[in-house]
Symmetry: C2
Subunit: 1010 residues, 2 copies
């Protein structure tokens, strides 16, 4: 029997071995606390319907089914509401869930929580799209059952869920009943204190009527405000004589049909269950009977085909997808994870032009089921190469909501043009927090970018004429409204008061990402206007007339693009994330390093985040990925290095971007680590919230990390461009790309790259920047990109060395030690080297507290201040007699050699006497910069002093080497993102990258090449 | 009888004459739509209790009574709530209102709306604090009554309202009854769409119990969440035999006592009504019986004294206040308004150390009854000189809430120190919109500034030791947490992500006001720490120990103050409001000039406001007022000029600052206009919302405009400093100032300034910067400040002239005209000079539309583009032959003379051919800057092109002269804030400041001195 080949117990046994099946995800966890996450992982969907992977006979509060088209509109409450605020939000609400099958043995309900789980397994078969799970369970009374359930959500039939449910008795003899339910009791999740979860819902879904019958049962539901209706019906098929219909019932929480039979040891009963949904559009007048009629038609057809045939059809549909994706990696576990991610992206993406891909797909209630910009910037690039039809559908959804975007633009005071909502289902803005919502104007550019990518990859001129051009033009208009030619910057086009994708800065001027993407958008809009005016004058004139577009306006777009303000910071030679970003301090280590598994946004007030140089994800790096044309690799590397140092990756979108760009700038190991981060976000629940749905952008991101990252795929001047590299841990990998009529297979192994066409006659593309012509049946074999041959020499060069003073250059530590000892002796407190060692790099009052730990009485603040002053007097007395002879041996030569090697030098000492000391030691001229200790608010191990030194020298921290003799100093250097050389005993400085016995051993030649 | 002298009808007649009594505000309006505003104007208060000026027998929904101590705590709803958000808000709720007296003639209730108002007058006597009003009314049945009511809210008895109510019959004979009520039915106002009004209240005030008796009646109320209780009771006194008690009643909406009598023509009945309130603190356990007991004690004492005695006591209390304020102006109407404002400030300010001065005092529900920073920056400076005890009470309120400020700092992630709530009653942050709320960190500096002002003026060392120092230190700490020494600005101390008082920019870096005030605050905190350590070592050590303050920390404050980042913009030579401000565009004229009586915040989304250079109030100018020491007058003038050009004065706080600074920089006429604006904000309802309460800061601002403005009062180095000027419209004015033990009288007239002491033995102060010693009985007579003798020469010098091209320098207008005419002829459309004139300064496609107005058919967009291109060809053909001979006569000489006079020149032409034309005309070398028309998005009359020119030249618009030949150009120049010279016919350019027949008549010598 066909079904058995998909899920028979003997096959499951294979997965107990060590080898991983790249086509199956298998989980065996039985801890109920993990079930919500597993329900997300094992959710099935088809773009219209999503069903979480709960256990039929074990109801869970987090189980749910969703329809992309069914959402409620709730008023948004504001304590203070300002002009133009979003008035309502759309929330995708859980609909009637029909996965439940309640079991009863005799008169005793089966309660899984009370029995013993002898064996449990969930498996998702990626080839067939079938979720199957097995349970071997012993009841409290000793009856042992083996339950096997499988289901599919039909990819070819928007409203259909088909299930096959089997119970086998091991040792039980007696009656069994299966109550198959449609459950309407599940409400929407509460938001609580985490704004990423759920909604503040007013209204919701109400059941209008229900009917439970012998063959069919159904419920009809309706949303209170958005007036969307749905019907959900079920029908069953009995494949053997084991079960017979007993009765149907209808209650407040739904409808059910019950089937009963007799079990004997070794025997089983099987129920096939078919569930169909139908729904209306908002305010649609379709009669309710039409909805139930549609449901019944779907059910009849499905029952007639049977589960086995439906599963076979599902497998065939997926075959085409997997053929286009054409994924393979020499590491089966990686391959499995990649396939798993891509499968989820594929099944959760909208197909009907009325829906897109929600942040958590159709797998949970996170983010209210909203669509964001990542649909275009992350999901679409993966779909455009593997399932172009879906990519177009996502864009059509935007076209369908263009009028809402026009209205949204008016709400934000733009007299014309269209601004897409930051988060939405219906097209209306649903963001109640505009600094992190509507202020993200970049969404217009992201959609324009996706349109261009789709057009390049598909050549779909009909789309351009009927939808694409109008969206490009209307969205382009907004830039001229929020930007201006700034006479204070030689007429550069500046864009104000926006928020970039990195939401850890908000309402900034000239966000690099926004400006760069807007430039691309404006240029493209102007080019398309010119191209259409020439190639399709009639259609163009009609469109231009309709939206009142003149050639002057298109020319203005071009001028704004040409004049776009994209400055390079003069000191750091990087692109500032925004006008104010580089001037802000970094997050204090006390906050950044506090032990917490929560993102900053749940730990700090937004202002505290905005006040610092800290990125949730680095949008400047993303700009270099999406619009990196014409920017040289050295610049990309500098930006990568800098922004990596200030990024906390609190967004699941972050890792894939860093993976792609790490590959491009030649940082293979980092790239691989970031790839794993995005690959396993949900599989390993790295962000702790997969229970509310899995992260579509991170899943798409793993494909991006593979194809755009390791494969080096980009579109350059309308042509596909590749530069594959082989990650060191792998021996080979493969991926496929759809490009117009062709399908390109890219296979990479240690011998290089094999390009072949699996579809189409020929394809022109760039390989490592060189144009190649590939013809059907004539594969090309080319060398991989040589990372060391890029225009930038790796490893990165050292630019500066920053020295500590005490104990590194001069032994003032000895003088401090002597002064503290003298004081301790005077007041009769024991003092030895173990105490002395702890004082290094610690400020005066904190040192005193350490010294006084051994005191036998309390000291008042007054007394403490007096003691500290006395110690300082002893110290200053000694230091006054310092001269060049007090330099530690080799110090002058070490510093001079750094200068001679062409590097910059700085002194980072907490001592306020440092400048004077340098003069006395005769080495003031050797330093390019001496940090003024008076202007450092936080002492080591906070990195402030080293970052200030780098900042003043105009170098980025990763180009610096810090030299320190104290553990706190080494920690400070590392927190600043620099390499650390320790001076002293290796066992005392375990964190240092290198430890030298003294400064005389410092050889700059050794480090300048690291 | 004493009462009669305060309110007898014969006195009222005086105010019908033309002369204004400076001690009485009289209104006679009978339009019910204006009553809500009048209730605010005629509200009485005593810091604890506020009673709006409604009409006893004519109930109004907007009537209300308030207790400063009675507020409700409501949860704040957020759709997305982030870490550290304010959880609740305090709302001062209307309490039981006891002003009502319902009349009945026979069995017919008196309904004022249904009869005829024969005469009506309200009068507020500022000497006695008595609100008296008269109504002569004829009922629908023809009975005529004269009603006289008066009341006081006792300044010496926190919970007491006393009323005297008299009804006189003109022609009515029959029974009358007076039902005296305590009304509990009035709920809190709804916020609606204007965030300045009311609250989103959860909970509110509930009546616990009530009792109506023969002599006393009372109600007890309690707030649902904050658990504050109050009792309100009333008792009556019958001064003659006209009335007798009839019955008492209790109902859902309150309690009442009814009195009846008989009226005959010419006879009257009189009722004295006493109302007392008592209240508990939040969560106070005081038994309810204590509250009613307190009420009854107050009532007994008051009834025993009687209304006349209470009124006399009230008058005596006010006498002291008016003696200290010592106000007089030669213009009685002005004097009346000043007194009226100061009276309101005085009566609404808290006296008990548990309350401050709310934004709308105790006069209405606006802003939820919250206290803001303006209590310290506007109200306190007026009180400190006229009622120092109240100033101290305001600061004690802050001290009482210091622990709440500490908690608020923790909520915003500051590990120590205190941050005062932006808006509050209890001390807890009540702002739900943090960009305009908690981000206004300047409140800490404002409070510190007020502490310093109070200490300087009072010498109150006890306050410093017990309250002031702790507040100064704890609030100073926050600056080190939100600022840092920025290595990218040579270690300057930068403060990030704050909002200044100008809320039309938000979340900015280095707001000048904040940095400047923080500098002052830090310096003061460091100085006080040093001073106390020396003068009061024991107290200081105790405080330092308690708050863990070390001398290192105080030294850090000093260093941060010394290093404070306060840049001067290199081009404009002004202080930038913040790092990004000057880079933003100005508000497009289409928005700025749109006809609306609403502030921008009700017309535009916050982002649209933030995106532009536009100020609600100019906080940089305010910084120059509050902390202008050491900044020269020329710099103040430049900043004044610049910021005046971008300020819309949507805040009622704005005008007084501009009034004070206009005086200081020598702009007398402007100063006077701004003075009138702040003086009459509520009297004339200039902002349209006096109905919700009157504007305390604007009222205090009128005193500031007088004393700090015309009087030039400041505190310099701890000493009072004056520099009086006499406003041109006045012949004299006078004001008094309390300074430590002295009271200084300042009298200014055309002969100069008379200084005398009305209290104290001697006083040292600065007059026009010169130290003076004033002794009792030995007045000084000194000269007024001579505005023209300041370091800055007025009128302001001209720095640049910006020329239009077409029609000014060269007659391309003629060529354009000819080209259009040629086109019009070709397509058979009439074209004459009247059409031609309208094309000047208008861009090509818009010109075409004007030309085509006379067409007999519609032209398609394609056709239009072709026509415009054809016209341009004709034009370019002509212009190609241009040479120096095409310069208009005198143009070269005119421009050259500007250069020779040392001024800068720019060309602001919309023509994209301008640079080429200048070369051909041979005058390219005469221009310092030519605006690139390609980089101008909005055409004239928008000012963009002229502002771009000024910006590029590095001059502020008010220093520029624009020269134009078209009306749109003149409008553009004016919108840019420049003076405009028109070239052409005067009747065609009516808006120009000067019109010259041609450019040859342009004489720079004529303008350089204007």
């Amino acid at each position: 029997m066909q079904v058995a080949t998909q899920g028979k117990p003997s096959e499951l046994a294979d997965f107990n071995g060590s080898s991983v099946d790249p086509w199956q995800l298998v989980r065996r966890g039985t801890n109920p606390a993990d079930f919500a996450q597993e329900e997300s992982l094992f959710a099935l969907a088809n773009g219209a319907l999503g069903v979480r992977g709960g256990i039929e006979e074990y109801p869970s509060a987090s189980q749910g089914s969703f329809l992309a088209a069914v959402w409620e509109r709730s008023p948004i409450d504001y304590h203070e509401r300002f002009t133009g605020y979003a008035r309502t939000t759309d929330t995708r609400v859980p609909v009637a869930d029909a996965t439940g099958i309640r079991l009863q043995l005799g008169n005793a309900p089966v309660r899984l929580g009370e029995g013993e789980w002898l064996g449990f397994e969930r498996a998702l078969d990626l080839r067939s799209g079938c979720y199957r799970r097995e349970l071997s369970w012993r009841s409290p009374t000793g009856a042992t059952l083996e339950i096997t359930a499988q289901r599919i959500v039909a990819l070819d039939e928007p409203g259909l869920l088909a299930m096959r449910y089997q119970v086998r008795s091991v040792d039980y003899t007696g009656p069994i009943s299966l109550e198959s339910t449609i459950n309407t009791a599940h409400g929407a999740a509460r938001q609580g204190d985490d704004p990423r979860i759920g909604a503040q819902l007013h209204g919701g879904l109400q059941t209008i009527d229900a009917q439970a019958g012998d063959t069919h049962s159904w419920v009809r539901q309706q949303t209170a405000n958005s007036r969307i209706r749905l019907a959900c019906g079920q029908q069953h098929r009995l494949t053997d004589d084991g079960l017979r219909f007993q009765h149907a019932s209808s209650a407040a929480d739904g409808v059910s049909q019950t089937f009963t039979g007799m079990l004997l040891p070794g025997q089983s009963v099987t129920l096939e269950k078919y569930v169909a949904y139908a729904w209306s559009l908002p305010d649609d007048d379709k009669p309710n009977t039409d909805l139930t009629g549609e449901v019944e038609r779907t059910l009849s057809t499905s029952v007639a085909q049977g589960y086995v045939a439906l599963l076979a059809r599902q497998t065939r549909t997926l075959e085409q997808f997997w053929r286009d994706a054409d994924l393979a990696v020499s590491d089966a576990e990686i391959e499995q994870a990649l396939r798993f991610n891509l499968f989820h992206l594929y099944q959760s993406s909208g197909r009907d032009g009325h829906s897109s891909t929600a942040a958590k797909g159709l797998t949970g209630e996170g983010y209210e089921g909203h669509y964001f910009w990542d649909a275009e910037a992350f999901m679409l690039p993966a779909l455009v190469s593997t399932a172009p039809r879906l990519a177009r559908s996502l864009l059509t959804y935007r076209y369908e909501t263009l009028d809402r975007a026009r209205l949204h633009a008016r709400e934000l005071d733009h007299p014309r043009g269209a601004l897409y909502a930051w988060r939405t289902i219906s097209g209306d803005e649903c963001s109640s927090y505009f600094p992190g919502g509507s202020a993200q104007y970049h969404i217009n550019a992201d959609i324009a970018w996706a349109i261009r990518l789709y057009l390049d990859a598909s050549g779909d001129e009909a789309f351009l004429l009927t939808q694409g051009a109008e969206m490009l033009f209307e969205t382009a208009r907004i830039w001229l409204d929020i930007g201006h030619f700034n006479a204070r910057h030689d007429g550069a086009f500046c864009i104000h008061e926006v928020t970039g994708p990195d939401e850890y800065s908000a309402l900034v001027d000239n966000n690099y990402y926004t400006n760069r993407m807007a430039q691309r958008h404006l240029r493209d809009a102007a080019a398309v206007a010119a191209q259409l005016a020439a190639s399709h004058p009639t259609e163009y004139a009609a469109l231009a007339g309709r939206i009142e577009l003149t050639s002057d306006e298109a020319a203005l777009w071009q001028r704004a693009a040409d004049a776009m303000y994209l400055p390079v910071d003069a000191r750091l030679n990087i692109f500032p994330q925004d006008d104010g970003f580089l001037d802000k301090p970094r997050l204090p280590t006390a906050i950044a390093d506090a032990p917490s598994d929560q993102p900053l946004l749940l730990r700090l007030h937004p202002m505290s985040i905005y006040r610092h140089q800290v990125c949730k994800q680095a949008d400047t790096v993303l700009a270099l990925m999406l619009a990196g044309d014409g920017i040289d690799t050295a610049a990309k590397r500098r930006n990568f290095d800098y922004y990596e140092g200030v990024t906390v990756h609190d967004s699941t979108l972050s890792a894939s971007t860093f993976a792609v760009m790490a590959t491009e700038v030649g940082l293979g190991e980092k790239a691989y680590q970031y790839f794993l981060d995005t690959l396993r976000v949900d599989l390993d629940d790295l962000h702790g919230n997969a229970a509310h749905g899995i992260h579509m952008a991170a899943m798409a991101g793993s494909w991006l990390a593979l194809v755009w990252g390791f494969g080096g795929f980009r579109v350059r001047g309308g042509e596909p461009s590749l530069a594959p590299q082989l990650p060191q841990p792998w021996s080979s990998y493969r991926f496929g790309l759809r490009w117009r009529d062709a399908h390109l297979r890219v296979e990479v192994d240690r011998n290089g790259v094999h390009y072949s066409l699996t579809d189409g006659d020929s394809l022109t593309f760039l390989h490592n920047g060189v144009r190649q012509q590939l013809n059907a049946g004539r594969p090309l074999h080319l060398a991989c990109a040589d990372a060391s041959a890029t225009s930038y020499t790796f490893p990165r060069p050292l630019k500066a060395v920053i020295f500590d003073l005490d104990g590194v250059i001069a032994d003032t530590a000895v003088v401090h030690h002597a002064a503290w000892k003298q004081l301790a002796d005077e007041i009769g407190i024991g003092f030895d080297d173990s105490v002395g060692e702890r004082l290094k790099g610690v400020d005066r009052l904190a040192s005193l507290d350490i010294v006084l730990e051994r005191a036998t009485r309390q000291y008042s603040l007054d007394e403490k201040l007096e003691l500290a002053a006395r110690k300082n007097d002893y110290y200053r007395e000694q230091v006054q007699h310092f001269g060049p002879e007090n330099l530690l041996p080799g110090a002058r030569a070490a510093i001079a050699s750094v200068k001679k090697a062409g590097l910059k030098t700085a002194l980072a000492s907490a001592s306020k006497n440092a400048p004077l000391l340098l003069e006395r030691l005769g080495i003031a001229d050797l330093f390019d910069y001496v940090v003024d200790a008076n202007r450092i608010a936080r002492s080591k191990p906070d990195p402030e002093i080293f970052i200030a030194a780098a900042s003043a020298l105009g170098v980025i921290p990763s180009e610096c080497l810090g030299v320190e003799d104290a553990a706190a100093g080494i920690a400070s250097i590392h927190a600043a993102g620099m390499a650390a050389v320790g001076i002293g005993r290796a066992d005392a400085l375990p964190e240092a990258d290198v430890v030298l016995p003294d400064v005389a051993a410092f050889d700059i030649g050794r480090f300048a090449e690291i």
